[in-house]
């Protein structure tokens, strides 16, 4: 009850800002006067009486504090008081304030931005119910993940005990007709269980039915919300309506929810059931049902771990049963790989993201160290202020609280600016993110990121506040009551030197990372792709429509139509003004075309009869190699005379020639590519190796043949066009030329070869750019850090320097004294940093190319860079020390 009454009184005092100050002062004055009178009465002189009275009454300041502590809400009041005081102090040193706020803002901003980007990709659960139960399943060959056949899926669905639902899918790019121009859509052909595996139902309409999951079943399709809005005007009535895709009528049965995120194919806008034939799977091993081109994903039953699911599937793979025969090329003899969906989709980018996150944390650490250092330097300058306040009765805790308030306020301001920087940074990260980054739509300045920034700010604030506060109050402050006392702040400067060494070491770690990545990029840019990419435009075309289908009545009608169509496209494109050379190819170098469609077995007549070698099969038009400027090493290029009625011929790549015919002339040798029951191909030429799918991989074995002599007619080909000047400028003319042949064919990919090369290195470039930025920031922080310490020490030692030069030290001696001190710190830091960099560079290994993670040249050059920058930063205080006028320095004290 009493406590409550007091609390109410305190609150009232606080709220009405009523202060007993006046009353207290008056009472104290009276008290003092009465004490003095009494002292006089007892025989003291008036002066002595007053002095004794004062001594007895104690410090006015501390009485006021005690009184206030009883009066209002001291915590809150002190906070407000401290904050007001801090603002006043900070306004008085705007340089310090701005540097600290900017340093913190940059670090917190960068950290928050990176965390915002990394969090949804690496840490947040995927946006599906019980997402941790979704597993991807791969066949494996020598540790490499490979896709599965329809026949495998059927067997696993029937025999497994671990999965609630097991789905397969493949990419699908149907052409939507009906608009002004045909539109190529991105989509997926899926088994009916696909959405059940993800655990998401259509928002409008319904999911696929198991009955729709069959050969020649009803043609039904589900749309993404995005496509529904863009192409169907968000009309609810479209459920049940029909659309024409690739010449077929599909009934629309559903629309996915607006926020549905399809991490397995983020661009997919339309889904339809797969169209595989169970009968064919059982009887014909050569059918498409046994082609390894399906991706598999499953939802494990509750309580079934990834390991248990893997054991289950591996047991099935190892024990064949008569009901499910398997052909040799889909026998699952090496078992399966089961991975969590999340680990699967982040597999490629995980090391890059972790490296970037490590780098940004280093930057944050450096910023914290730097701010601490600045605070310490300022703390040294403020010794006399602190001493004064202690003398006036401020308690030690009160002082510590004031300093912590100061740094919290700085960190808070830095955090606020930092969040603004982070918002811009996130937008920038999304804009420049490499195409391989999953869940790009989920990246935004999230609440978690904001929380993260807030925690960081608070932590940095408290730490940077406490270090100087503790080191200030550790000393007997009363001793330094007189300003500029000669008392040296030994422990202070020791702390600060340690911090500078730390900063140097951290900066070197970042610089070494950036250096290694930069060298890798240089090496990559120096890689010869095997063709000349400049001035080269590429357009991928996939035929669409029933006129390109082989049917039972015209078994080769569709194939003929495809060959004819691509021949006409070739002729039309060559006639476009400005085109100097043109060609067609099934696989475009530096794309994944070749991996997806282009690998076949090749067996040379001279080699063992039962072993083939995997090669990339390029079906090309005459003139392709010339247009690409792939060099001819031997023999001749393909010509238009190598048609379907001429003898079958191939070109082979240089490396294939070397490995198969070491020291011999391969011209005239014969080879089977693909099926064995075809005539031999005769090698007529050897061409240079080409980087098939990436600059970083060496898979150079390839054969080139003409469309007329291939055992099947491809439905997808790329036009390559060489021109003078800007390759993209001619794109509209070339597109029109293609559409002049058939306006219903959509163009899948239009890109210059330079763009393809850039895309190939996108992830590296992304990481490199971030590392370069962070390393620059780190360098700047290290430079200001060492500058700050030296400048502080020169200021403190002005008198000593004056004495030295008065006693005959030359300018060179003084310069050496200051520079030597700075460079010693820099060198220790660099040495420690070299060790740390050597260890931490192992995190970068997967991002490096053509350079060892311990590359001595890189380490040497970044160390040199750091030392040069440190020397430059030391030069300013050194120059100031040299300029010290001994007379003035001695007189100033």
């Amino acid at each position: 009850m009493r406590a409550l009454r007091r609390l109410v009184a305190r609150f009232r005092n606080f709220a009405t800002a009523r202060r007993g100050d006046e009353r207290l002062r008056e009472e104290m004055d009276q008290h003092l006067a009465m004490q003095t009178e009494e002292n006089i009465r007892s025989g003291m002189t008036p002066v002595e009486a007053r002095r004794q009275a004062r001594l007895k009454c104690g410090g006015a300041e501390s009485i006021r504090e005690d009184y206030h502590a009883e009066e209002g809400l001291p915590l809150l009041e002190n906070l407000i008081h401290d904050t007001r005081f801090t603002l006043r102090i900070l306004r008085r040193s705007p340089g310090f304030t701005i540097v600290v706020i900017l340093t913190l803002a940059l670090a917190i901003g960068a950290c928050t931005a990176i965390f915002s980007a990394v969090n949804p990709i690496l840490f947040e659960p995927l946006p599906y119910p019980h997402a941790n139960r979704i597993l991807t399943i791969w066949s494996t060959f020598g540790g490499v993940r490979s896709r599965l056949a329809f026949g495998n899926w059927r067997e696993l669905v029937e025999r497994n005990h671990s999965f609630e639902a097991l789905a397969v899918y493949e990419p699908w790019q149907p052409v939507l007709l009906g608009g002004a121009q045909p539109v190529r859509l991105n989509g997926q052909k899926v088994s009916a269980s696909y959405l059940r595996v993800l655990g998401i139902e259509p928002w409008l309409g319904r999911d696929f039915l198991p009955a729709e999951d069959r050969f020649n079943g009803p043609a039904v399709a589900i749309l993404s919300y995005r496509l529904w809005q863009q192409k169907f005007g968000g009309e609810r009535g479209i459920i049940g309506a029909a659309v024409t895709l690739d010449g077929d009528r599909y009934t629309l049965i559903g629309v996915m929810p607006v926020g549905f995120e399809n991490v397995l194919s983020s661009q997919a806008d339309i889904w339809a059931p797969l169209d595989y034939n169970v009968q064919a799977a059982a009887t014909n091993f050569e059918s498409g049902e046994w082609g390894n081109h399906l991706y598999m994903v499953g939802r494990a039953r509750p309580g079934v771990s990834r390991e248990a699911a893997l054991r289950d599937l591996d047991t099935i793979a190892a024990n064949r049963i008569a009901q499910f025969p398997r052909p040799p090329h889909a026998a699952l003899q090496h078992g399966l790989i089961v991975d969590s969906l999340k680990a699967d989709i982040t597999r490629g980018v995980r090391p890059a993201l972790l490296a970037v996150m490590g780098a940004v944390l280093l930057v944050l650490l450096m910023a914290g160290v730097n701010v601490t250092n600045l605070q310490l330097a300022r703390g040294a300058q403020r010794q006399s202020e602190f001493a004064m306040r202690v003398a006036l009765g401020a308690g030690r805790m009160r002082l510590v609280r004031q300093l912590v308030t100061e740094s919290l306020l700085l960190a808070g301001l830095g955090g606020a600016v930092g969040v603004a920087i982070a918002a811009a940074g996130v937008r920038m990260l999304v804009a420049m993110s490499p195409s391989g980054l999953p869940r790009i739509q989920a990246i935004h300045l999230s609440g978690e990121a904001f929380f993260f920034a807030l925690i960081l700010t608070t932590l940095v604030g408290v730490v940077t506040g406490l270090v100087p506060a503790l080191s200030a109050s550790r000393e007997e402050l009363r001793a330094s009551a007189q300003p500029n006392s000669a008392r040296s702040t030994r422990s202070d400067s020791w702390t600060r030197r340690t911090l500078v060494v730390t900063e140097m070491a951290l900066a070197l770690v970042l610089l070494a990372g950036a250096g290694l990545l930069l060298r890798s990029m240089e090496r990559l840019l120096a890689v010869d792709p095997g063709f000349n990419p400049s001035g080269l435009l590429t357009i991928q075309i996939k035929t669409s429509g029933h006129e390109f289908d082989d049917t039972s009545t015209a078994p080769s009608g569709g194939s003929d139509a495809r060959r004819r169509f691509f021949q006409q496209v070739f002729d039309a494109v060559r006639r476009v003004p400005g085109v100097t050379a043109a060609g067609l190819t099934t696989n475009l170098p530096l794309t994944d075309d070749a991996i997806i469609y282009g690998i076949y077995g090749a067996r040379f007549e001279s080699g063992p009869s039962n072993v083939g070698t995997d090669v990339f099969r390029y079906v090309v038009s005459p003139g392709y190699c010339e247009a690409m400027q792939i060099p001819l090493r031997r023999g001749r290029f393909l010509s238009k005379l190598d048609g379907d009625d001429a003898p079958s011929v191939v070109l082979i790549s240089e490396s294939l020639a070397k490995s198969q015919f070491p020291g011999q002339d391969p011209i005239g040798k014969r080879v089977h590519v693909g099926p064995m029951n075809r005539p031999w191909y005769t090698v007529v030429g050897v061409v240079g190796d080409v980087k098939q799918n990436s600059l970083v991989t060496d898979e150079p074995d390839a054969v080139y043949l003409t469309a007329g002599q291939s055992w099947f007619a491809d439905d997808t080909m790329s036009v390559v066009v060489r021109e003078r000047g800007d390759a993209l400028a001619l794109a509209p003319a070339v597109e029109n030329a293609i559409w002049s042949v058939d306006k219903n064919q959509a163009l899948v990919r239009v890109a210059t070869a330079d763009q393809l090369m850039a895309a190939d290195q996108a992830t590296r470039r992304f990481v490199l750019m971030l590392f370069e930025a962070f390393a620059l920031v780190a360098l700047a922080l290290a430079a200001t850090g060492i500058y700050g310490v030296l400048a502080g020490s020169v200021a403190e030692r002005t008198r000593e320097i004056g004495v030295r030069s008065a006693l005959g030290a030359s300018r060179r001696d003084i310069l050496g004294l200051v520079l030597g001190k700075g460079m010693r710190l820099a060198a220790i830091g660099a040495a420690l940093g070299l060790g740390a960099a050597a260890v931490s560079s192992s995190a970068l290994v997967s991002l490096l190319f053509g350079v060892s993670r311990l590359d001595p040249l890189t380490y040497l050059s970044v160390t040199a860079l750091l030392l040069v920058v440190a020397a430059a930063a030391c030069a300013i205080p050194a120059a100031r020390a040299v300029a010290v006028d001994p007379m003035q320095a001695l007189r100033s004290e």
Partner: protein, 115 residues
């Protein structure tokens, strides 16, 4: 001059209440001096500890205060005991006596008493 003890924490409030109870309204300085006198000058009460205690007691409603003229015509703030204060004093007194008697028993205890 012999070393004077500072007032033990917590007991000062009780002394203030008792002093006001016995002597009627007093100003702060008088309260301090009376306590020192009563203690036989063994205690020293400085204003740094006194005024916060007075304020707290006032906030609790145990005492009230008003400005008035002092004995030699100075303006001084006089504190007086309220009814709540009298009750509080009674309660505190009982509590203190109890504590004191318990402590006293411990000092008087001998080994044979516990045999």
């Amino acid at each position: 001059m012999k070393q004077k003890k500072d007032v033990q924490q917590g007991t000062l409030a009780l002394m203030v209440l008792k002093t006001l109870d016995v002597l009627g309204p007093l100003h702060g300085y008088a309260v301090a001096r009376r306590i020192e006198q009563i203690s036989g000058d063994l205690l020293s009460v400085n204003q740094g500890t006194l005024y916060p205690v007075l304020l707290r007691l006032e906030q609790e409603g145990a005492i009230a205060s008003d400005w008035a003229a002092s004995e030699n015509n100075r303006r001084a703030r006089f504190y007086r005991l309220t009814r709540t204060g009298r009750k509080l004093l009674g309660a505190e007194k009982r509590e203190w006596e109890q504590t004191a008697s318990i402590v006293a028993r411990f000092f008087e205890v001998k080994a044979e008493d516990l045999a």
